[in-house]
């Protein structure tokens, strides 16, 4: 009753009127945009809608992870682009985290030389546009490598030349299924062992080396099955035929240059997050744990890291999101990511609105996924008040 009475106060009425006015302006604007767009599209003879996705694309994609030919549809070509974007993002996130943590730890090192070198690295990479770094890595990677006939072979079966890095491709035989099952069993076993170790530690205080035991199970079980099944894997080597190599697993220079540039750039930012995270931990805590007789490793694992992560994770979430968005710079050096493939499609049939909508949809989805995972991680490390 009270609610109903207070519903139409003077303030509420004013608010409602204002919002109605805003809505009206938005609708008017959208209507204008829509009519303009329709008139323009008709004038330029551009079809609208997603029908073009099932047409034959006719465009080649040089770095597709799945089998693809120009006879496939636009939709499938765009899907190849999405896969490439996701692939670059996942590898980039993993490797830039590894490098970034190394840089961050080096920056807080008590070794003056190491911390200065890390600082120079961070300050240089952070203050230069990523696109320039990419051009640099691409030019250097291409220029430094020889033609296929004069390939470098750092190890037998591995060839380095300006067409890419050629590695032996593992060919799996049926026995590999057993190894995969063993790996799965190993992972489950390790999780059980870790849980039991924690329970025993909680209940009795006895320390069980759960992590090492789990590692033995995860690595040992599949390895044992692998050799029992008679090593069911053969290597297909790349062979020089004419002017180029055939077969094997090939990593194209565009991909190497893109990965190098993105990882070097993002690692500088992650390094700064790690540094500020570690420095945010009160040095008194470290002195106190030394006084309690904890070892250096335990202090890092149990005292510093859990507190540093609270600072590191939110900042790093943003950097991961930027990394995914930055992977779109692939278009500048000719790696066919989603933006590059989409740009070609726009060039062929002018359906810019649909492609841009698809880009936005995919990037939003990836970024939502990242923030979902990172928020979950973040809630795990947050201080839980009583």
């Amino acid at each position: 009753m009270k609610k109903a009475a207070s519903f139409l106060t003077k303030d509420n009425f004013k608010n409602m009127a204002l919002q109605m006015a805003v809505l009206g302006v938005i609708f008017y604007g959208c209507h204008g945009l829509l009519t303009n767009t329709q008139a323009n599209l008709e004038a330029r003879n551009i079809a609208s809608g997603f029908g073009f996705l099932s047409l034959e694309s006719g465009m080649p994609i040089s770095n597709s992870l799945l089998p693809y030919t120009p006879a496939d549809t636009y939709g499938y070509a765009f899907f190849m682009g999405i896969i490439n974007t996701v692939f670059v993002s996942v590898i980039g996130i993993i490797l830039s985290t590894v490098l970034g943590v190394t840089i961050g730890v080096a920056r807080v090192s008590s070794n003056w030389l190491v911390s200065k070198l890390a600082e120079i690295y961070v300050e240089v990479l952070r203050n230069i546009p990523l696109l320039l770094t990419l051009f640099f890595t691409y030019t250097i990677v291409l220029a430094a490598l020889p033609v296929p006939r004069k390939s470098l072979t750092p190890l037998a079966g591995i060839f380095l030349n300006n067409r890419g890095i050629y590695l032996p491709r593992p060919v799996f035989e049926p026995g590999m299924i057993a190894v995969m099952i063993a790996l799965l069993v190993g992972i489950i076993g390790a999780m059980v062992i870790l849980g039991m170790a924690k329970r025993i530690h909680d209940n009795t205080g006895r320390v069980i080396p759960g992590a090492s035991l789990g590692l033995v199970v995860v690595v040992g079980l599949p390895l044992a099955v692998f050799f029992m099944a008679g090593a069911p894997v053969t290597m297909e080597h790349a062979v020089l035929k004419g002017f180029n190599f055939r077969g094997g697993l090939v990593i194209r220079p565009e991909f190497s240059a893109l990965m190098m540039g993105i990882i070097l750039y993002t690692a500088a930012f992650i390094g700064e997050n790690v540094r500020s995270g570690i420095q945010s931990v009160d040095p008194g805590q470290i002195n106190a744990s030394k006084a309690l007789g904890l070892s250096q490793g335990l202090i890092m694992r149990r005292i510093v890291l859990p507190q540093a992560l609270r600072v590191i994770i939110p900042a790093t979430t943003n950097d991961y999101a930027s990394l995914v968005k930055n992977s779109s710079l692939a278009v500048a050096i000719g790696y066919p990511d989603m933006v590059s493939v989409g740009g070609t499609i726009i060039g062929q049939n002018d359906q810019a609105i649909e492609i841009i909508a698809m880009w936005m949809g995919v990037y939003m989805t990836i970024n939502l996924l990242i923030s979902f995972v990172m928020n979950w991680l973040n809630s795990r490390v947050q201080l839980i008040g009583r």
């Binding site: 919002q19 767009t37 008139a39 203050n127 230069i128 696109l131 320039l132 051009f135 726009i346 970024n367």
Partner: protein
């Protein structure tokens, strides 16, 4: 009778004197060789420097050809940069009119120095900075006061990068403030709209926004209305930057305690006055360092306009390195480009950090 053997006190050997902790040796002991791991790291780092530094120095300085390309110099050929310098700085801007970009550069430098030295009041600085783009546009573009007009397709080089960045920063700050206020509005429609705009723009890469501005904007406009590519790209950059500025400003707004609103209200200020005279001045002061951080990021991001066909600084560097008369100088071109970007971005971030340390504006 058993004799009692008394233990006699025998002093142990004297301890070694403490290690030197002053002077060069002491400094090295503390900072480079204080544990076995650090000693190994130091040696590895020194070896790395020994391998990397001398070739770099001899390439860049000792063996470099400075004034003209010459075959006997094996290092960098800086003559390439000297030869291309005008193109790198101002693009295809007509040679006899180059004094105009130079005048503009002088104005920007003087204004930046005045800002950093804090010789003028904040209000005057803001007025000067916001009149700057108008003045710059008319000097560069010409067409008034007897200055001959220069087509915008001839603009390029560092001048274009700086122009896109300065206009982008100056215009995106007010838009960002509006979006941030909208996101905190009591009106659900306004709040949803602003949140939607901010999150949509922040969710996608700048390249897609530039594509959109370059390809889609003409489709959205009424027929017969044409705006050139440079302006379209500038609009895209402002749009993109506004969303990020909005998030920075929102951080500042959230730091203002509720008491400030209540106090302003009890003094009889209305909502608008409260915002403009009480809340925003404090909120913006909080976020000046982050705003400068965004400026650095935006300046770096302007290099992406090369993808929609504008020849900014990086674009000109790339184009010059592909000049058939000067082939094979990519490394010099990119190193020079990196150096210029680095100087500008590094000094801006240093300035931001110094403000942060003073913790005041």
């Amino acid at each position: 009778m058993a004799s009692v053997r008394l233990k006699t006190f025998v002093p142990g050997p004297a301890m070694a004197p403490p290690l030197v902790s002053s002077g060069v040796i002491g400094w090295m002991r503390i900072n480079l060789f204080n544990s076995s791991l650090n000693s190994v790291l130091t040696v590895v780092a020194l070896f790395f420097l020994y391998k990397a530094l001398p070739p770099m120095i001899s390439w860049a300085f000792l063996d470099a050809a400075w004034l003209a390309p010459s075959p006997e110099h094996e290092g960098a050929c800086w003559a390439f940069i000297i030869n291309k310098f005008r193109v790198l700085m101002v693009g295809l801007y007509p040679g006899e009119l180059v004094w105009r970009p130079m005048a503009v550069a002088a104005i920007v430098v003087i204004l930046s120095v005045l800002t950093v030295a804090r010789k003028l009041s904040t209000r005057l600085l803001i007025i000067l900075w916001y009149t700057l783009p108008v003045v710059l546009f008319f000097i560069i573009n010409g067409g008034i006061l007897g200055l001959p007009k220069v087509e915008q397709s001839l603009w390029g080089g560092l001048m274009l990068s700086m122009g896109l960045a300065v206009v982008g920063i100056l215009l995106s700050i007010p838009f960002g403030i509006l979006l941030a206020l909208g996101r905190r509005s009591r009106l659900a429609v306004v709040r949803t709209l602003c949140t939607g705009i901010i999150e949509c723009i922040r969710g996608v890469p700048l390249i897609t926004i530039l594509f959109m501005a370059s390809v889609m904007l003409p489709i959205f406009l009424p027929q017969g209305v044409n705006i050139n590519n440079l302006l379209r790209v500038q609009i895209g950059i402002i749009l993109f930057s506004s969303a990020y500025m909005a998030e920075v400003v929102r951080g500042g707004l959230q730091a203002i305690p509720v008491g400030q609103f209540e106090a302003a209200g009890s003094l009889g200020l209305n909502a608008f006055q409260t915002m403009v005279f009480v809340v925003l001045p404090q909120a913006l002061r909080h976020v000046v360092p982050s705003l400068i951080g965004r400026c650095v990021a935006l300046f770096k991001d302007t290099s992406l306009v090369i993808i929609v066909g504008l020849l900014d600084f990086l674009g000109m560097v790339k184009a010059s390195s592909q000049d058939p008369q000067w082939l094979g100088y990519d490394a010099e071109a990119y190193v020079f480009c990196a150096f210029v970007y680095w100087i500008i971005c590094f000094s801006m971030s240093r300035y931001g950090r110094s403000i942060e340390r003073r913790n005041q504006w």
